[in-house]
Symmetry: C2
Subunit: 205 residues, 2 copies
Amino acid sequence: MEPLILHEYAASGNCYKVRLTAALLGLPIERREYDILKGETRTPQFLSEVNPNGRIPVLQAGDRFIPESNAACFYLADGSALIPKDRFDRADMLRWMFFEQYNHEPNVATLRFWLAFVGEEALTEAQGAQIPARRAAGDAALKLMDAHLETRAFLVGDRLTLADIALYAYTHVAGEGGFTLGDYPHVGAWLDRVAAQPGYLPMSA
Amino acid sequence: MEPLILHEYAASGNCYKVRLTAALLGLPIERREYDILKGETRTPQFLSEVNPNGRIPVLQAGDRFIPESNAACFYLADGSALIPKDRFDRADMLRWMFFEQYNHEPNVATLRFWLAFVGEEALTEAQGAQIPARRAAGDAALKLMDAHLETRAFLVGDRLTLADIALYAYTHVAGEGGFTLGDYPHVGAWLDRVAAQPGYLPMSA
């Protein structure tokens, strides 16, 4: 594969997904850090050269750029065992990855960012007012995962896929956003199974 | 392919994506309507039998269910020309589909739903307070698409893919949410190109 560069903010779960996928596949990846709290992904240079959407992560493969964490993971894993060969399972994997970006990340990840990185006292009034609704929606997403994982070892089929990686990233640090992972025991057992995978890389690595 | 049933609310752009994909592929699909304004996707039966997330669309393929509109489209189109064969283009298609669910739909589609279906006078105070931020974010998403489409006929490569279908669905009715499509001429020309595709099906069909 061409040289891989990850444009990232290391504490972001979205960026960690890409690092974890690369690690599980044994792919070396160069890391370039941007401080999103200082607006380093909104500079004219970043917008014109890396991502017009002003967000990280962006995976650079050679001289081409892939924004959106789950698309970057798909690029890395395409053709590997992290993407099911079965047509239904492949769509089902994407189902969980879209669920992650629509139902899970905006709630579980946003509350972590607001409470553990920005700080509750520094939130705008509009952000503070959204906390209860995001808390309820985040808990609903975790509850849905818990029910699904009650009878399954992994989210899709019987082995690890990108669906697990995508949802592991922010779920395993949901406590930093004030969620109580102990309320979701099947999620907890699944987190342990993901962390036991050969090649697993912790978020702090 | 096994018999296909779309569990849907016809006015939803997310449901229209699945119908449009099936139409472009020439796949027959049975439609089952649920009134989301009456809570018909939150009944115990729907939650246990169709989708525990209480949302439409859900694509039923035989006796299996695929929630999440973009995953359902991927299932239908898997192996067809609507998904690029090139590895980078395939990931780039998914990049736009995740952008759609994260940056576009929560703003462009939500304002349409609130203003054209729920009605501004029936919104909660918290919803009303979110209108300016969602308007700005929706316009930012449309502006990003417009700049990308200035030099391209379609979002990825040089032909129609699922990325175009996913973003066409709510973009072409963005006016119903108070967005001014005339501000985005390259988006307008692209909408015309999508609508000119053989097999195209309008949202109202």
